[in-house]
C-alpha cells in the first residue's frame, strides 16, 4: 500500500481511502479528495507538504496528513 507521500512529483494516483480522524477525513472529502478520485502530485519534496492537483485546483497537504491518504499509483 502506498500513501500520497510515496508518489513522485508529476505522477498521477487514484485515492483508495483516507484513514485518520473523522474531521480530517470529511474535510478532505469536501475538498474533493474522495475514494476513486484521480489526482496528480505536482510537488513532493520528500519532506514537508505535498502539492496535488485535484478537481482542477491545487491543494497543499501537510506531510503527516498526506501519509494517511492511501493511493494506488497509475
Amino acid at each position: 500500500m502506498k500513501s500520497l507521500t510515496d508518489i513522485k512529483s508529476g505522477r498521477p494516483a487514484v485515492i483508495i481511502f483516507i484513514h485518520g480522524g473523522r474531521g480530517a477525513q470529511h474535510r478532505l472529502c469536501e475538498l474533493g479528495l474522495l475514494p476513486g478520485e484521480r489526482v496528480t502530485v505536482l510537488q513532493n519534496p520528500g519532506a514537508g507538504p505535498v502539492t496535488i492537483c485535484v478537481k482542477g485546483s491545487k491543494l497543499s497537504i501537510g506531510h503527516g496528513l498526506a501519509q494517511k491518504i492511501i493511493v494506488r499509483e497509475e
Binding site: R27, E30, L31, G48, L59, S60, I61, G62, G64
Partner: protein, 695 residues
C-alpha cells in the same frame, strides 16, 4: 421618488473566487466593517441605491463548504438561516467550476433564492475553453450571470438580475442533488421525524437539518439535541447512519460529498468544453520555482525583504512631511496659547504624544499596501506552504503562519483569534503564546523611531529587517522550547488551497490598506489620546515651585523626576539599569503595556516637557539623538526589550479568553515574556559593552 423597498443580498463564495473584488465593485467606498455577533469573524456590509431599491450587500466569509468545520462556515450559514437575506449571490470562479460549485450544492439546500455570478469568465475564454452559461442555468434551474470582477464587467447585469428575481420577473427552479435511493430513503425518515417536532424555530429548512444529521454535523446535532423530542430524532439518525455505513461500507458524509461532486461533475461535463490541460499553465511554472525545495525559502526571505525595502524607501519623505507638520503645529500652538498648564497640555500632551504616533501613519499605510499586494497575488498561501516544513521542526503548524503574519505589522489581537483555525488545543496554545512576539503595527513606530534616530539612513531598512528576523527567531525558539517542555505531543494536520496567481487590482489594494489604516487612526484618536493625557498628567503633577536661582532647564528636569510618573520610573530604575535604561525608559515601557504605540507617545511627552522653549520644539527623533544618555547600543537593548516583553492589555485579555479562559496560561505568558525580554536585553547591552560597542 420614494424607494420601492429594501433588499438584503448576501455574497457567498470560495476563498479566492474574487468575491471581495465584486463586493468592492458593487458597493464602492460605502462599506462598513464590523463583527458578526459573538464571534470574531469580520462582517463587511455596503449599501447602495439601484433602480429605487436600497440594497444592502453583506460579504459572507469565504468558504469551501457549509459544514461546521470552522467558525467561518458556521457564520456564513447562520447568516443565511437567521437573517434571511432576500437573495444570495454565489460568486463562482468559473475557471475552477467543480470545486466552486460544491458550495452551491449546500447553498441551495438552505432554501434561499440563489443567483450564480460566474466570475473570471475572461480567464476561461483566454484558455480556449467555453462555458455554456445557458446550459448551467438550465441544469441548476438558477440565474447565471458571467462577470469579470477585476475589470468591473457584468455588475449591472448582476444588479438587474437581483431586482428581476426579487420582483418575480424571473422564476427559478429547485433542482437538488440526487443522493440516490438508499440515502434518500434514510433522509426521508429523518426529515419526517424532524417535521413532527413541535419546537423547531421558524426559518430552519427542515431538509437541510435532515441532511446535516446524516452527515453527523456537530452543530446541528447539538441544536437538535436541545429541542423537545430531539434525543429520539438523534437516535433515529444514528440508526440511519449505521444502516448507510453498512450498505456503502463508508461513512455517510463521504457518500454525501461524493454524490454532490457527482452532481456537479454532471453539470460540468454538459456545460463546459475543456481544452486539455488548460489550467495552471503560468501558475505551475511560477510554483515550480517558488515552491522549489531549495529556492522556496530564499525566495520567501526575498519577498519579506522587498516588503521592508518598499515600505521604508517610499514612506521616508512622507513620514518627514508628517513630522514637520506636527512640529509646526506644536510651534503654532505654543505661540497662540499663553504659557501655562493649557499650553503644556496641548503642546506636550496632545501634540507631543499623539503626534508622535500619527507621524508614523504613512509608514504603516505603505506596509499594509505591500502586504495586501502579496496577499492578493496569491503568494501568501505559498508562504504558508514553504514555511510549513520549518514550522513543523519548531513544533508549530503550517497554519500558525497565518496568525503570525496577521500579527506582523497588523495586530496580535486578530492574530491570537486566528489561531482558532488550528484544531489541536496544544498547537493553538503554542501559536497563541508566540504570536505576540511578532512586530505588530503598534510596535512598528517604536522601531522606526529608534532606528531612525540611532542608525544611519542607509542601514534603516536592514536594521528593520534584522529586527523582524529576530522577532521570528524568538517566536520560533520559544515555540521549540514550549513544544519540548510544556506541550509535548503531535502536531495536527495542514490542508490549504494554492490559488492561481493573479495580478491584484489597485482598487482592492487601496481599500484593504485603508481599512487596516483606519483602525490604526481610530486607535490613535481614542485610546492613545486618552493614555497620552494620563501620561502627561502623570509627569505634570504634583506641580512644584521653581526654586530661586534655579535654571529653567534644571527646573523642568526636576519637575519630571519628582512627578508621579517620575517617581514610578525611579522606583523601577534599578531593574532596568543593567539593560542600559534610566527611569524614563522604565516609565515608557510600563506605559507601553496599555498599547505599544504609547512607548513612543510617552517618549514624546517626556522630551517635549523637557523642552524649555516649546516654540523651538524639535522632532522627537532629533531630541533622542541629542540626548547624551542614549547610544546606539542602548537603543538596541531597549528595542530588544520592546520586541519581547509582555503584550498589550487588549492582547492579554484576548489571550486569556481564547486560552480557555485560563488564568494560569495568562500568568505564564506574562512571566515568560518578561523574563525573556530582560535576559535578552541584558545580553545585548552587557555583551555589547564587553565587545566594546560603547556604553
Amino acid at each position: 421618488m420614494a424607494a420601492k423597498g429594501k433588499l438584503t443580498v448576501g455574497l457567498a463564495g470560495n476563498p479566492n473566487s474574487g468575491k471581495s473584488t465584486i463586493f468592492n465593485n458593487l458597493t464602492g467606498a460605502h462599506q462598513h466593517v464590523g463583527n458578526y455577533p459573538g464571534v470574531t469573524v469580520e462582517k463587511k456590509e455596503g449599501k447602495i441605491v439601484y433602480k429605487d431599491y436600497e440594497i444592502t450587500f453583506v460579504d459572507l466569509p469565504g468558504t469551501y463548504s457549509l459544514s461546521a468545520h470552522s467558525e467561518d462556515e458556521i457564520v456564513a450559514r447562520d447568516f443565511i438561516i437567521k437573517e434571511k437575506p432576500d437573495i444570495v449571490v454565489h460568486i463562482v470562479d468559473a475557471s475552477n467550476l467543480e470545486r466552486n460549485l460544491y458550495l452551491y450544492t449546500q447553498l441551495q439546500e438552505l432554501e434561499v433564492p440563489v443567483i450564480l455570478a460566474m466570475n473570471m469568465s475572461d480567464v476561461v475564454e483566454k484558455r480556449g475553453s467555453k462555458i455554456n452559461y445557458a446550459g448551467i442555468s438550465r441544469l441548476l434551474g438558477k440565474l447565471v450571470i458571467p462577470t469579470v470582477g477585476n475589470k468591473n464587467k457584468g455588475m449591472d447585469e448582476l444588479l438587474n438580475a437581483v431586482i428581476d428575481l426579487h420582483e418575480g420577473k424571473i422564476r427559478i427552479e429547485k433542482i437538488g442533488v440526487d443522493y440516490g435511493e438508499e440515502v434518500k430513503s434514510e433522509f426521508d425518515k429523518v426529515t419526517a421525524g424532524i417535521k413532527k417536532m413541535p419546537d423547531v424555530p421558524k426559518g430552519y429548512p427542515l431538509g437541510w437539518l435532515g441532511i446535516k444529521l446524516l452527515e453527523n454535523d456537530s452543530w446541528v446535532t447539538g441544536f437538535i439535541a436541545q429541542l423537545h423530542g430531539g434525543p429520539a430524532i438523534l437516535l433515529e439518525a444514528e440508526k440511519s447512519r449505521t444502516h448507510l455505513k453498512k450498505h456503502f461500507s463508508d461513512d455517510p458524509e463521504v457518500i454525501i460529498a461524493d454524490r454532490r461532486y457527482g452532481f456537479i461533475s454532471g453539470v460540468c461535463t454538459e456545460a463546459q468544453t475543456r481544452s486539455p490541460e488548460e489550467r495552471h499553465d503560468l501558475s505551475d511554472k511560477i510554483d515550480k520555482v517558488v515552491l522549489n525545495r531549495f529556492l522556496g525559502l530564499p525566495i520567501f526571505a526575498l519577498v519579506m525583504y522587498a516588503i521592508f525595502k518598499f515600505t521604508f524607501t517610499f514612506s521616508e519623505p512622507v513620514v518627514g512631511w508628517f513630522e514637520t507638520f506636527f512640529e509646526k503645529a506644536g510651534e503654532l500652538a505654543a505661540k497662540v496659547i499663553p504659557e501655562g498648564l493649557t499650553q503644556s497640555f496641548v503642546v506636550d500632551g496632545l501634540i507631543g504624544g499623539v503626534g508622535g504616533v500619527l507621524g508614523f501613519f504613512p509608514l504603516v499605510l505603505f506596509m499594509f499596501f505591500a502586504i495586501a499586494f502579496f496577499e492578493d497575488s496569491g503568494y501568501m498561501a505559498r508562504a504558508a506552504f514553504v514555511m510549513d516544513r520549518i514550522m513543523h521542526k519548531f513544533g508549530l503548524h503550517g497554519k500558525s503562519f497565518l496568525p503570525m503574519m496577521i500579527s506582523t505589522n497588523g495586530c496580535a489581537v486578530p492574530g491570537i483569534m486566528a489561531s482558532r483555525t488550528l484544531d489541536n488545543k496544544k498547537d493553538r496554545l503554542i501559536t497563541m503564546m508566540v504570536t505576540p512576539f511578532m512586530i505588530c503595527g503598534a510596535k512598528l513606530p517604536i522601531f522606526a523611531l529608534f532606528i531612525g534616530a540611532f542608525f544611519a539612513q542607509e542601514q534603516g531598512a536592514n536594521m528593520m529587517f534584522l529586527m523582524y528576523a529576530l522577532s521570528v527567531a524568538i517566536a520560533f525558539g520559544s515555540a521549540w522550547i514550549l513544544k519540548k517542555s510544556v506541550f509535548k505531543g503531535e502536531t495536527s494536520h495542514f490542508v490549504m488551497e494554492l490559488p492561481p496567481y493573479r495580478i491584484p487590482t489597485i482598487q482592492g489594494l487601496l481599500l484593504k490598506m485603508w481599512e487596516r489604516g483606519w483602525l490604526y487612526l481610530k486607535k490613535a484618536g481614542t485610546i492613545i489620546l486618552l493614555i497620552s493625557i494620563i501620561i502627561w498628567a502623570g509627569f505634570t503633577f504634583p506641580q512644584r515651585e521653581t526654586k530661586e536661582g534655579e535654571g529653567k532647564e534644571v527646573a523642568a528636569a526636576v519637575q519630571m523626576e519628582q512627578s508621579f510618573a517620575g517617581r514610578i520610573g525611579k522606583f523601577v530604575e534599578p531593574a532596568v539599569r543593567p539593560l542600559g535604561m534610566d527611569w524614563r525608559g522604565g516609565v515608557a515601557l510600563m506605559a507601553g503595556v496599555t498599547a505599544k504605540e504609547v512607548v513612543v507617545s510617552t517618549m514624546g511627552t517626556i522630551y517635549s516637557l523637557g523642552e524649555v522653549d516649546p516654540e523651538e520644539a524639535e522632532p522627537l527623533k532629533e531630541a533622542l539623538q541629542k540626548d547624551p544618555s542614549w547610544s546606539p547600543l542602548k537603543a538596541f537593548a531597549f528595542l530588544m526589550f520592546c520586541l519581547i516583553y509582555l503584550p498589550c492589555f487588549v492582547a492579554m485579555a484576548v489571550f486569556y479568553r481564547e486560552s480557555g479562559p485560563s488564568l494560569e496560561w495568562t500568568l505564564f505568558l506574562i512571566f515568560w515574556t518578561t523574563v525573556m525580554a530582560w535576559v535578552a536585553s541584558f545580553i545585548v547591552y552587557q555583551g555589547g559593552r564587553l565587545l566594546g560597542f560603547g556604553g
